[in-house]
């Protein structure tokens, strides 16, 4: 049942958003954003899903299927799966930058509390 996937994606996104908005620990904020990111992948892969479809590997049709059936859309949507692949790569880079900033913040400010790291305001 694909509805479960959507619900799970929404729940994950909501959890991440809750963490981002309420937690002050920088590492937790990064974790919240990672959760939201994971939920977008789940959402995209679920959007790509079609009932009874096969993986979008179009070298030769699987047993019992003709090439025509594949051409008529009995595969999962490869474009959305590519979305995810691209976003995963970008997400890794962003998380790395995030964590390196968090480490530097910990070294400079001796804290990970976002509330004690707001010298600029107003």
């Amino acid at each position: 049942m694909i509805l479960v996937n959507y619900l799970a994606a929404v729940a994950l996104f909501g959890t991440g958003l809750y963490v981002l908005v309420t937690r002050r620990n920088l590492i937790k904020i990064v974790m919240g954003l990672s959760l939201m990111e994971a939920s977008t992948y789940l959402f995209m892969v679920s959007l790509a899903y079609r009932a009874g479809s096969t993986a979008p590997v179009l070298l030769s049709p699987p047993a019992g299927k003709t090439a025509k059936q594949l051409a008529h859309g009995n595969v999962a949507d490869p474009v959305l799966q590519n979305f995810c692949l691209t976003a995963v790569v970008i997400g890794v880079a962003v998380t790395a930058v995030f964590l390196s900033v968090a480490v530097r913040v910990a070294q400079h400010y001796r804290t990970l509390d976002a509330d004690r790291m707001r010298t600029m305001r107003g």
């Binding site: 981002l20 002050r24 962003v94 900033v101 530097r104 913040v105 400010y109 010298t119």
Partner: protein, 584 residues
């Protein structure tokens, strides 16, 4: 050169800076540190040259497309990534390449003393950001736009947190990271949702599909995309990170961010609103108008309240992005042409002002206006440049701001949008007060103690300031030329989405001619300028003498500096945008 050959050159303006970015750290470490920046200058110059080759035909009204890897559309369906040069995208790409090169030259002069590691990394990130801006201007593919968004975002994170020895850079770095990542999720989900319902990523195919059939998920996707790109543009309420970023960065980086990177968001929103969702009955223009007015007012008020020169300019950037959104929101030819004009003007004068602020900081070490004063005598070149930039924003003829602002006024008045027009004038008065205050406090006010001997400006810095200030004047004195040859075709491209779509799909299309008249000596406009300038000067004079009014204090208190609060504002704004688009 034949049209086909010209089209096949389109990916090069992006590829050259990316190649330069890859080479920069190696050149800096293995050969000579300054070579990294010089290679960057060559790459950006090459990109600008190739874009200039496209200019005559594209500004003549052609839309030209190239599909990467020659995956051209079959039966009107595109699988490949399209790069399309239309007048609107090309003028943004050209502005990015030229101002990027000027800023790199300035960097070479001012920060040339950095170590090889630092200078190499700086040149790399700088070129990546410019490449992303050019890519975003030329692409005609929604997912490709997301990729350029992320490239620009990653480069901007690095540039923000570049001066690691300054703790504020880390603080600002974390804020821009959190808010832009949130925005990237919105753009990502929006693009995926739009693909799932309309079955395409190509702007042209999306335009055709949405014109045939528009569903609620499409509108949700539009809301997410607009909110995401508005975060990049720093529109209210997505703007929390913006001022902090400028407090932390050096002059040329601030100039790059403020002059060019935020305009990325506006360009993307304009493409979505006019060329992809070109369907009547979507309240997206009204939304732009509202967000624009709120941003223009709030940015101006916050700018007036600042004592830190770079924060003042940063909040003014929010205000100017609001003006751009207002121009687009008019939906009429003069307003849109004015917005495109203002986009170029803003890149020129805001880059100029941030370079001035950076030069002051670099030489005196001062950031607060209350500590400065009397700099006109000590740094006359910077003072002249700052006054030219400030007068351009104030819309004083014969400088460029006058032209674009009066065009936007015409667009608003033609559409009988009197309330936004009035509020825009209020914002303009406050903006003039803020910049007048800054110029007075920094340059002309007598100062008690004298400065220690100040290092003089280097030739590259003077060249940078002079070229930007010169462009401010040129764009102000030749309005009809730029309007006819650049801005009106750009507005035509936005107002005739079907032509743009056919150009993207078939590789070539001609846009209809559009004439936007401009009356330089219109008595109403000139009277308005004088009235705004007098009112602004009076307000600025009064503001430095009174205690901070309570509403301003409340507004400042709302900018708590907490990343959680800024994320909350952005999420609330996102929900509001989606609600407006789906419920009305």
């Amino acid at each position: 050169m034949s049209g086909q050959a010209l089209a096949s050159l389109l990916p090069l303006p992006v590829a050259l800076p990316i190649a330069g970015a890859v080479a920069a750290p190696l050149l800096a470490r293995l050969v000579h540190r300054r070579l990294a920046v010089i290679a960057g200058l060559v790459a950006l110059g090459g990109a600008a040259l190739i874009l200039l080759l496209q200019a005559p035909s594209v500004f003549g009204g052609l839309v030209r497309a190239h599909y990467l890897g020659l995956w051209t559309p079959v039966h009107g369906r595109a699988l490949g990534i399209a790069f399309a040069a239309d007048p609107f995208g090309l003028i943004f790409a050209l502005t990015s390449a030229f101002i990027g090169a000027v800023l790199l030259l300035y960097t070479l002069s001012e920060l040339g003393g950095l170590g090889p590691r630092e200078l190499g990394g700086y040149a790399c990130l700088f070129q990546l950001l410019v490449a992303a801006l050019i890519g975003a201007a030329l692409t005609a593919d929604l997912f490709n736009l997301f990729v350029w968004f992320e490239v620009a975002a990653l480069a901007s994170y690095g540039l923000t947190a570049f001066l690691l020895e300054r703790p504020v850079a880390l603080e600002a770095g974390f804020k821009i990271l959190a808010l832009t990542t949130l925005a990237s999720f919105a753009v990502f989900i929006g693009a995926g949702l739009l693909y799932a319902t309309a079955g395409a990523l190509n702007y042209a195919q999306l335009h055709d599909a949405l014109a045939r059939h528009l569903t609620t998920p499409d509108l949700i996707a539009l809301g997410l995309l607009v909110a995401g790109f508005a975060t990049k543009a720093g529109l209210v309420p997505f703007h929390g990170w913006l001022a902090d970023v400028h407090t932390a960065t050096s002059g040329p980086v601030s100039a790059l961010f403020s002059g060019l990177m935020y305009a990325f968001g506006i360009v993307a929103v304009a493409r979505l609103a006019f060329q992809v969702f070109a369907v009547n009955g979507i309240p997206v223009l009204g939304l732009l108008l509202t967000v624009g007015v709120v941003s223009a007012l709030l940015g101006a008020i916050m700018a007036l309240a600042q004592d830190d020169l770079k924060r003042l300019l940063a909040y003014d950037t929010i205000s100017q992005m609001g003006i751009l959104a207002i121009g687009l929101g008019t939906g009429a030819a003069p307003g849109i042409a004015g917005a495109v004009y203002h986009l170029v003007n803003h890149a020129l004068f805001k880059a100029l002002l941030f370079l001035c602020a950076g030069a002051i900081l670099h030489r005196t070490g001062l950031t607060k206006l209350s500590d400065m004063g009397g700099l006109a005598r000590r740094m006359p070149v910077v003072a002249v440049a700052f006054v030219i930039g400030a007068a351009s924003i104030a819309g004083i003829p014969p400088l460029n701001g006058y032209v674009s602002l009066s065009l936007i006024h015409t667009g608003l008045l033609d559409g009988q949008q009197y309330l936004p027009f009035t509020l825009m004038q209020v914002a303009q008065v406050i903006t003039i007060a803020a910049l007048g205050k800054a110029a007075w406090l920094a340059f002309f006010r007598p100062r008690a103690g004298d400065y220690p001997p100040l290092e003089s400006l280097r030739p590259g810095m003077v060249a940078g300031l002079a070229s930007l200030a010169g462009c401010c004047v040129v764009f102000g004195v030749l309005p009809q030329f730029f309007l006819d040859s650049v801005m009106a075709p750009a507005a035509a491209g936005l107002l005739h989405p079907a032509r743009y779509a056919s150009g993207v799909l078939t590789g070539l299309a001609r846009l209809p001619k559009l004439h936007v008249p401009f009356d330089y000596l219109s008595p109403e406009e000139l009277g308005l300028v004088v009235a705004c300038a007098v009112a602004g000067a009076a307000l600025g004079w009064a503001y430095v003498r009174v205690r901070e009014p309570a509403p301003v204090r409340l507004l400042r208190a709302a900018h708590t500096g907490s990343v959680n609060d800024y994320a909350t504002y952005a999420v609330a704004g996102m929900l509001a945008v989606i609600a407006v688009l789906t419920l009305t």
